[in-house]
């Protein structure tokens, strides 16, 4: 009995619906017709694997990676850490985790971001790492600022870090966002509110983790990520016609 069966079907009820009037951009970008469901095949069960060789030593250090170690970014120093797990609670080893975020003032280093807050010359805003044997990962970064965005009259994004995870199967591919414990903007945000069940949204809110904070250096926030698992292949080796 191995976990090499098809991917466990997604529970779409815990994800945001494609169409959400509170988040205006979804209105013209949401498929209206039902998704086509099928047991996964090799196309979804395999996926790209990235070796440590393709990553640089500072890739998971957003404080230093933009200047290649020359000059640290401005802001409140934090460590974001956690585990990538599957639905069976097992760590997903050797998988790529990528993050991107605004700087301490809430400004992205992106040609389309024209927010008033200045760019930090020492901050690029992206990082990546590969999980260890137990599925653990960590990033050293600065706490991103909240920022306003054009949606309704006065919408603001809570402080957040965008997170992209691969797992071992292309069908596990997931992008989400990490929020910070205690941020009063979380309940006001239309993007956070695309998740209708508050208990599900709370799973994206990282708690302050004093036990892993380093005195006189950084605060830690813990963020675990759960990817789809695989069905166990019991009774699937039966002879034809049984």
């Amino acid at each position: 009995m191995l976990d090499d069966g098809p991917l466990i079907p997604r529970n779409l009820a815990l994800h945001p619906a494609p169409y959400d009037p509170g988040y205006k951009t979804t209105l013209a970008r949401s498929p209206a017709l039902p998704l086509l469901s099928m047991d996964s095949s090799a196309s979804e069960e395999t996926g790209p694997r990235f070796g440590h060789g393709s990553l640089g030593a500072l890739d998971n250090n957003l404080i230093l990676n933009w200047t290649r170690g020359k000059s640290p970014a401005i802001g409140e120093r934090i460590v974001m850490h956690g585990r990538v797990l599957d639905e069976r609670g097992r760590g997903v080893p050797h998988t790529l985790v990528e993050v991107w975020q605004a700087n301490a003032g809430g400004r992205y280093r992106h040609k389309k971001d024209g927010y008033l807050a200045p760019l930090d010359p020492n901050f690029g805003g992206a990082g990546r790492t590969i999980t260890d044997e137990a599925g653990r990962y960590q990033f050293l970064t600065i706490r991103p600022g909240a920022y306003p965005w054009p949606n309704r009259g006065n919408d603001w994004r809570p402080m957040h870090i965008h997170v992209s995870v691969f797992g071992h199967s292309f069908g596990q591919r997931l992008i989400t966002q990490m929020y910070f414990e205690g941020d009063p903007l979380i309940p006001l945000c239309p993007i956070a509110a695309t998740i209708k069940d508050r208990a599900q949204l709370d799973r994206l809110v990282a708690p302050l983790d004093m036990a892993n904070s380093k005195p006189l250096d950084y605060l830690a926030y813990k963020f675990d990520i759960v990817l789809r698992g695989r069905r166990q292949s019991m009774f699937e080796n039966k002879p034809e016609g049984m």
């Binding site: 098809p6 997604r10 815990l14 994800h15 945001p16 619906a17 494609p18 988040y23 951009t25 979804t26 970008r29 949401s30 498929p31 209206a32 017709l33 998704l35 086509l36 469901s37 099928m38 047991d39 095949s41 090799a42 196309s43 979804e44 395999t46 996926g47 790209p48 694997r49 990235f50 393709s54 640089g56 890739d59 599957d86 639905e87 069976r88 609670g89 990528e98 991107w100 280093r109 992106h110 040609k111 389309k112 971001d113 805003g125 992206a126 990546r128 965008h162 992209s164 292309f170 069908g171 997931l174 992008i175 966002q177 993007i191 998740i195 799973r203 994206l204 675990d224 759960v226 699937e236």
Partner: protein, 199 residues
Amino acid sequence: MVQKLEMLQETPSQTAGPYVHIGLMPSYTGNGQIFAQELGESPIADGAQGEIIEITGSIYDGTGWAMRDALIESWQPDAQGRFAGQDGADPNLSGFCRFAADAESGEFTLRTVKPGPVALRDGRVQAPHISLWIVARGINLGLQTRIYFEDEDNSADPLLARIEQRPRVETLIAKKTGAGQYRFDIRLQGDGETVFLDI
């Protein structure tokens, strides 16, 4: 109380937002200095076996506008239908690519090798296809779809066979526009909405 199943739930998705490129394709937005090597720049290396093809297209929103801010990932097997890491797979094919529409034209181009057919567990054979995953501002959960090819025999493909409204099958089939050239447009909504997958 019944026994506990001891299962976790998948982490909920959130939109990739308008700035996804700074994280996943930094050079696309002028931030190429951040990493020594970007991931997914091409699905093939020199010497990849099989027919080199180019697939060009756009992603249209519900108003008919060719979106400029989406990011696409593709995943495919080699010309023999073997995925990277499998026994005998072509060492010059990673099978993974990241690409985005050109800011001026709104068109993307994927240059790769034509994939081979892949069997299901039950032995039925899937017609050659490339898997896609699309994220952007306004897309709350990454959209999965597939590119099939007009000049392949798609008649027995198990996934295409499940599409009840037969004209919709066409939304998954790239049209041949020249030698090794294909057109594949994606429509998120409205007339000709692409078939998206839950696999």
